[in-house]
Symmetry: C2
Subunit: 294 residues, 2 copies
């Protein structure tokens, strides 16, 4: 595995693969890798000739008072994991490499989607994500890019961005990896104390309850969201939102047959997010899998 810290280094490392028309897969991360990330690497490894992973804790997607400084940086352990996962190139730039030209005037905005859900509580977050991913896409120029479904809104932002801006890149969502008790793996789980860690799986359990209700035919989305919010708050969460949406994050209506149920809630000082995909059993001629705004 090559480790590159500069944009030019990445270009040089990829030049032979590009000349040989090999397929390049890309996985942007903020490091502190866990089994969820490694599943992305595995999917990429299965599908492409060359696997590139970036580790970059991007300052522009952290808001004031968020955990940019505290965010865990574990490059040595991450490198070892990526080496074992047969990653070909690790791109680990410093902030000055990614934001070399200052001031930077350019930002990529994914309106509507970015200001919804987590975006309401994290203004500017998804613009920071969209802008840095655009930069990374242009640096790596992959044929496909892999993102975890755990950060479902981020995945939706990237899907919209790639489609709207005509990136010749397939955006692949990879299912969330969970602990045995259901908690979605996340670097931020490390912030939980012992008691919080025991309470945390209730978030996913609540989403599963909504999933069962949808499959049973319930369609009063507002009531389901409200009930789940009260349930979580009763367990000690401070719930930001529970939202029943389409896979492109549009509002659900009576014709929806495929949903994503998303939730964000604080447990102590730690903000947890999770989601579950729900799909009615396929009918003949169903067009349920079409995004509503395609």
């Amino acid at each position: 595995m090559r480790i590159e810290t500069t944009i030019q280094g990445v270009h040089a490392a990829l030049a032979p693969a590009r000349a040989a028309r090999k397929s390049i897969a890309f996985i942007p991360t903020m490091g502190n890798l866990h089994a969820g990330h490694l599943r992305l690497v595995q999917e990429a490894r299965n599908r492409a000739d060359v696997v590139v992973v970036s580790i970059f804790v991007n300052p522009t997607q952290f808001g004031v008072g968020e955990d940019f400084e505290a965010y865990p940086r574990t490059l040595e352990a991450d490198s070892q994991l990526l080496f074992e996962a047969e990653c070909d190139i690790l791109f680990a730039p410093a902030v000055a490499q990614m934001y070399a030209s200052l001031p930077q005037y350019t930002s990529v905005q994914v309106n509507e989607i970015a200001n919804d859900l987590c975006g309401k509580n994290r203004p500017g977050h998804f613009t920071g994500v969209a802008t840095v991913v655009t930069k990374l896409f242009n640096i790596v120029q992959p044929r496909m890019a892999f993102f975890g479904e755990k950060d479902f809104q981020q995945l939706a932002v990237i899907r919209h961005l790639a489609r709207d801006l005509c990136f010749p890149i397939e955006v692949v969502g990879v299912p969330t990896v969970r602990a045995a008790d259901g908690l979605a793996l996340s670097s931020r789980n490390g912030y939980l104390n012992e008691l919080e860690r025991r309470q945390a799986p209730a978030l996913y359990a609540t989403l599963q309850t909504i999933s069962a209700a949808l499959l049973a035919g319930q369609r009063d989305y507002a009531a389901l969201e409200q009930h789940a919010t009260e349930h979580l708050n009763g367990l000690g969460f401070v719930t930001d939102y529970v939202a029943i949406r389409t896979p492109w994050l549009a509002l659900s209506d009576n014709t929806t047959t495929e949903w994503v149920v998303l939730a964000a809630a604080k447990l102590g000082k730690t903000r947890l997010i999770d989601n579950i995909s729900v799909r009615l059993p396929l009918d003949v001629n169903s067009s349920a899998s079409q995004p509503v705004n395609a």
Copy 2:
């Protein structure tokens, strides 16, 4: 010359060149081609293996009340000119091809630069330009892209965009082509009536006067701008701005040794823009050509 109207068609047309690692040059235009555009093609032809020109009158860069509907569309004549200029691929998509997925949530904003000068009178214009150029860059994936210096602010927006977003594309500015009397060639010159056409060269003549004053050592930028504005208004122009800037469109100060003087003014119903680059003769060890915000 191949004419393609779809994104997939462009990809297919360029696949052999890409496989052969040929250099691809790209010139985005809105058509109604004149000698200024053909000079861009000529420069591209001199420097690259494959020349791609796009013709697309982009609705998102026209404001309410601007001339989107009236903008001259002359595809047949344009195709003939491009064929003669040895363009390899003409990409002429319909609006529905470039904005296939609706709603489009994603926009590329180049703040500061985009809201300045022409951006003040044309809100959203440069965001429309930046977004469509990003799309076209991703469709064509050229090694270099050519833009006329005539639209200097547009060129600056694209330079910032390409640098900030890490596009692996060299942005090349090509000098303005002028009529014998000095008027910069522009599709919008066709809107001028006979009298206005005779008055129009005064715009460039005024810029030349400022150039001479700068070279003679005058540095009271505000006074030079004010005087030029009054002069143009006295000749029947309605002047939007005269601005003495650096090549990256930063404000000039006493240390500036390289300027761009930009002007926008209406003559009757036609809005004309022009600019002139001014550079002090090079001293030994001069760093005048460094952009101030590099």
